[in-house]
């Protein structure tokens, strides 16, 4: 499965080594991380050294070498959100998901991170899940939000 997917990605760029970052982005999207064997495959196809691929993947936060959650949850702990009760939201999420901040659920559906100001303080407190943003979140809303993603996750 991995081979077919990586073939597709590489085909898109036709062995163009200047597209390395774009390729890594696609791989990250596909697998939610950069698997070692895929990194090795890329070096062979593009004729770039493995050390370079590794250097890039560890430099950019967008890439990860360990499987990342499908839906990363970011709880804002910036000043505005903090004042509006973000710590309680984080606590509740930790309890609901059974993980600590910085960890990923065993099924890799959710990951939990605390971040500083995401730039929409008017909506505080703010939580993002994957690409979606939720403003003025009440702790009570959280289980409904999580459920939505759990279902979406189990369908695909």
């Amino acid at each position: 499965m991995k081979t077919a997917a990586i073939d597709r990605i590489l085909e898109r760029y036709r062995g163009d080594s200047s597209a390395l970052i774009a390729i890594l982005q696609d791989v990250q999207e596909e697998f939610h991380y950069i698997p070692e064997e895929v990194a090795i495959r890329i070096t062979e196809e593009l004729d770039v050294p493995l050390s370079r691929v590794y250097s890039l993947t560890t430099f950019f936060k967008a890439f990860s070498l360990t499987p990342r959650a499908r839906y990363p949850i970011n709880v804002c702990l910036g000043t505005a959100c903090h004042v509006k009760g973000a710590p309680r939201i984080l606590e509740k999420l930790e309890r609901d998901l059974g993980i600590k901040t910085g960890q990923t659920t065993p099924d890799r559906t959710f990951g939990l991170e605390a971040v500083r100001c995401v730039g929409c303080c008017g909506l505080a407190p703010v939580v993002t899940v994957g690409e979606d943003l939720y403003g003025q979140v009440e702790p009570a809303q959280l289980s409904r939000i999580l459920k939505k993603y759990k279902e979406a996750g189990s369908k695909s």
Binding site: E36, A39, E44, P49, L50, S51, R52, V53, Y54, S55, T58, F59, L65
Partner: protein, 842 residues
């Protein structure tokens, strides 16, 4: 105007300077003797601009540009040392040092400690603190001194990283690293090995290979280039860690293979403490391989070095003075008939040693019996291999080659300087093809890897030869016995070589001990003729050509003349007044164990297993003590290549100077000197030499022009010698009767990491990690069937031998075959061997 001139006028520190356009401010300053402190810039590397130590003021430019990245421009006004610049630099340096263990930089006792070592301790200490292996040789210390920094105004953050010691040859303490990126740039730009890169970012940034691999796993060649350019003590050579600063240097030629790299020996007192590449444009362009860079020190300083002449007799060893030893040798030799004498000399010796050795045998002993163990090393392919040199070209020609075929070459450890040249050629657009049945470091980078089926290597080359013959059109020739994919590749390669405007063929060592080696080399020669390629054979022995041209074989006289050439033979007899009926009587090294027993066997730099059983009396002359106690021998201590003057002839035919860097240990002497003394004691004429230079002059006068001793010829000598060594070809091994499957086919190769008959692994700790010892390669499926796992002891046996080796499971090892590298593969007999394999019972 319109035309841009080649130079620009600038003003630097109130001096008007005219400098080349395109230089950086730093280069302009350096070429005019103006010092600008730097940490990340390096003359051989691309500018990086990371450390900001080189900041300067330029009128009209905002802020402080870095001198190492800013090109000079017409009319620039630059100030390199204003008080503001210095203050900024100091600030930046403190920031750098806040993440660097700096006891040796800003210690209160720094000055006094260096001079008087007066720091109060509980115990009496006379050495002073040594926190960093780079102490006294550190560029960071230089910059601290220059900026007169004596304290660090920032909270010090110690990274607490583990010191990485798992790899051979050098340790890595990234707590001392200032992230200048020099190691990465040299590994990528100069070596093109691409082992290293920056990892992570911000304050977590570290240097290393991908995926936390060790350097060994990441394909590092242990060339040491990164260690050499590191400005701090972050990278340090294990063997030289606490040796401190050398007090002098000597430029010489590496004796560990036929490339003949130019090296700088670092000397402290009477000890060699390191070896670094010399800036030499013709042979190795400032690079060395792991052997030259990291093995020399341990090799020449080892405690097994012989220091005094000894007499070994039935397990007892008695030390002798030189006078006693020379007398003992002369006494034995004076009563030895020419026919009962035999001498072997290693091709690691200098031309001067080799010349005197053959003269000793032929003139002093009147015996034709002189040979070298190279004969057994190369076996039946020797003659064909030597013939390749007749079509050879200098290494520098790789630069001009458009298409390069590598035959059985691996350039990861030995010969990595050639690997560097290959990668450079590739960057330039040259195409690389490699022929090798086994995994090797060129496999990944080559455009095409022709991987012959085992036993069909010669067939593959024969197909290539046929395909490239003019009269044949490529497409109609079929490659026999090769898979279909391979045939396609062969056609591509044949086309490529035929159309190449400047093809080259490099010959490595994979096939040297092959059962069809002579065919393989003949075919390589024919292929080269078909396509007009130059051949670059890369011999394992540093002075193989010297041994041919100095004539240390029964078939070959000095100058490379055939000893069967009556006219030449007569000339020699006359000029040396030799009393010798025939030069070649059929005796050679392979007759040692089978032919009539000798009375005296004289070994110079040779170490044969059980050598003391081969003759009544042995003179063993070498740098290390024999491997096992000997029954009856005179043991004489020789000088290593770092301890004697002389010349070598490398694989290109280039005459290279070897220079004495230190005195030999104890009473050891150069080989030629020992030989001359014995000959004089025996009352023989023609051995009155008191320096290698005198011998060199005699060779140049009476044999062949080697140029002046102190300034050898620049151009390689022509490799058109006439003599040929006679080798017997093995009888074709009979076909196995059908129905009877051969259990396993074993191929044994001979180790190349050898100096004067000894394996480097016996003397150099790191070498044991890179050169596998007694490891037998086996295919994973076969291993599984036999219940063998990686690292298991396995017994490999046939009617003639039974050996226990360690299993090494290799994906690419063809099924039902085994491969092993031994010290002397000939000890098993001729390749291949039909053997049985089983896991050793415990």
């Amino acid at each position: 105007m319109g035309k841009t001139s080649k130079t620009v006028q600038i003003n630097m520190d109130n001096q008007r300077l005219e400098v080349h356009r395109g230089l950086t401010i730093l280069q302009a300053a350096e070429s005019n003797g103006i010092y600008i402190p730097t940490l990340c810039a390096h003359q051989d590397l691309s500018p990086f601009g990371g450390c900001r130590m080189c900041i300067v003021e330029v009128e009209g430019m905002r802020g402080f540009p870095t001198a190492c990245t800013t090109p000079v421009e017409e009319g620039m006004v630059i100030r390199t040392k204003t008080s503001q610049v210095q203050a900024e630099r100091k600030e930046i340096l403190q920031l750098i040092l806040s993440e660097h263990t700096s006891s040796c930089l800003v210690c209160d006792e720094k000055v006094e400690c260096k001079e008087f070592m007066g720091t109060i301790r509980k115990a009496g200490v006379t050495t002073g603190c040594r926190y960093c292996p780079n102490d006294d040789q550190c560029e960071l210390q230089d910059v601290v001194d220059y900026l007169e920094l004596d304290e660090i105004g920032y909270p010090v953050y110690y990274r607490g990283l583990r010191v990485e010691k798992e790899d051979p040859f050098y340790d890595r303490d990234y707590n001392l690293c200032i992230l200048c990126g020099r190691c990465i740039r040299v590994c990528q730009e100069v070596r093109a090995a691409n082992t290293l890169a920056f990892k992570q970012r911000g304050r977590f940034t570290v240097i290393g290979p991908a995926f936390d691999r060790t350097h060994m796993e990441a394909g590092c060649e242990f060339c040491g280039a990164c260690v050499s350019v590191c400005p701090t003590g972050a990278l340090s050579e294990k063997a030289r860690k606490w040796e401190g600063k050398p007090d002098r240097e000597q430029i010489t030629t590496c004796a560990l293979c036929g490339v003949g790299c130019q090296m700088r020996l670092l000397i402290k007192g009477e000890k060699i403490i390191g070896s670094l590449p010399a800036q030499d444009p013709v042979v190795n362009s400032g690079q060395l391989c792991v052997k030259g860079r990291f093995c020399v020190t341990e090799l020449v300083n080892h405690h097994r070095r012989l220091r005094k002449p000894q007499r070994h007799q039935n397990g007892t060893e008695v030390e002798l003075s030189w006078n006693e030893a020379i007398e003992a040798a002369a006494a034995e030799l004076s009563v030895c008939a020419p026919k009962q004498f035999g001498m072997l000399i290693s091709p690691n010796c200098s031309n001067e040693d080799l010349y005197i050795a053959q003269k000793f045998a032929r003139v002093a002993m009147g015996s034709p019996n002189i040979d070298s163990s190279t004969r057994t090393f190369y076996g039946h392919g020797f003659s064909a291999y030597l013939d390749l040199f007749r079509q050879s070209a200098p290494l520098a020609d790789l630069e001009k080659s458009s298409d390069i075929l590598c035959v059985g070459l691996d350039a990861r450890f030995g010969r990595s300087v050639v690997g560097v040249a290959l990668r450079k050629a590739m960057k330039r657009g040259a195409r690389i093809v490699t022929i090798n049945p086994r995994p090797h470091n060129l496999a990944l980078m080559a455009d095409i890897w022709l991987k012959p089926i085992l036993g069909a290597e010669a067939g593959l080359l024969r197909s290539l030869v046929k395909m490239t013959e003019r009269k044949n059109s490529t497409s109609r020739t079929r490659a026999k016995g090769q898979g279909r994919g391979l045939t396609q590749d062969l056609l591509t390669v044949a086309e490529m070589l035929k159309n190449a405007h400047s093809p080259a063929i490099l010959v490595g060592s994979e096939f040297l001990q092959h059962d069809k080696s002579w065919q393989i080399f003949e075919l390589v020669g024919r292929l080269a003729q078909n396509v007009g390629a130059r051949i670059l054979p890369l011999p394992a022995q540093n002075n193989l050509l010297g041994s041919i041209l100095m004539g240390t074989y029964p078939e070959i006289l000095p100058g490379g003349f055939s000893s069967a050439d009556e006219k030449k033979a007569r000339q020699f007899k006359k000029s040396w007044s030799v009393n010798l009926a025939q030069f070649s009587t059929g005796w050679n090294a392979s007759a040692l164990s089978t032919g009539p027993r000798l009375k005296v066997l004289y070994l110079i730099g040779e170490n044969l297993p059980g050598f003391d059983q081969l003759a009544d009396f042995t003179i063993y002359q070498n740098i290390y003590s024999p491997d096992s106690p000997t029954v009856d021998a005179l043991v004489l201590p020789s000088a290593a290549f770092t301890e004697a003057d002389g010349t070598f002839i490398n694989g290109e035919g280039r005459i290279q100077r070897v220079r004495k860097a230190v005195n030999p240990p104890g009473d050891a002497l150069p080989d030629w000197e020992i030989l001359c003394r014995i000959a004089r004691k025996m009352g023989k004429k023609g051995f009155d030499f008191s320096s290698a230079g005198q011998i060199h002059r005699e060779i140049s006068r009476s044999v062949m022009n080697l140029g002046r001793f102190h300034r050898p010829k620049r151009k390689p000598v022509p490799l058109t010698w006439q003599g040929r060594v006679n080798v017997s070809r093995p009888k074709p091994s009979g076909k196995v009767k059908d129905g009877k499957q051969i259990p396993f086919l074993l191929h044994a190769s001979s180790a190349e990491h050898v100096y004067r008959g000894f394996l480097l692994t016996a003397f150099v700790e790191g070498a044991r990690q890179i050169f596998p010892q007694d490891m037998v390669d086996i295919n994973p499926k076969d291993a599984q069937k036999k219940g063998i796992s990686q690292g298991d002891a396995v017994v490999v046996s046939c009617e003639r031998f039974q050996e226990t080796w360690t299993a090494n499971i290799v994906d690419e090892q063809p099924p039902r075959t085994l491969h092993v590298t031994l010290h002397q593969s000939a000890s098993l007999g001729a390749n291949p061997h039909r053997v049985k394999v089983k896991k050793k019972d415990v």
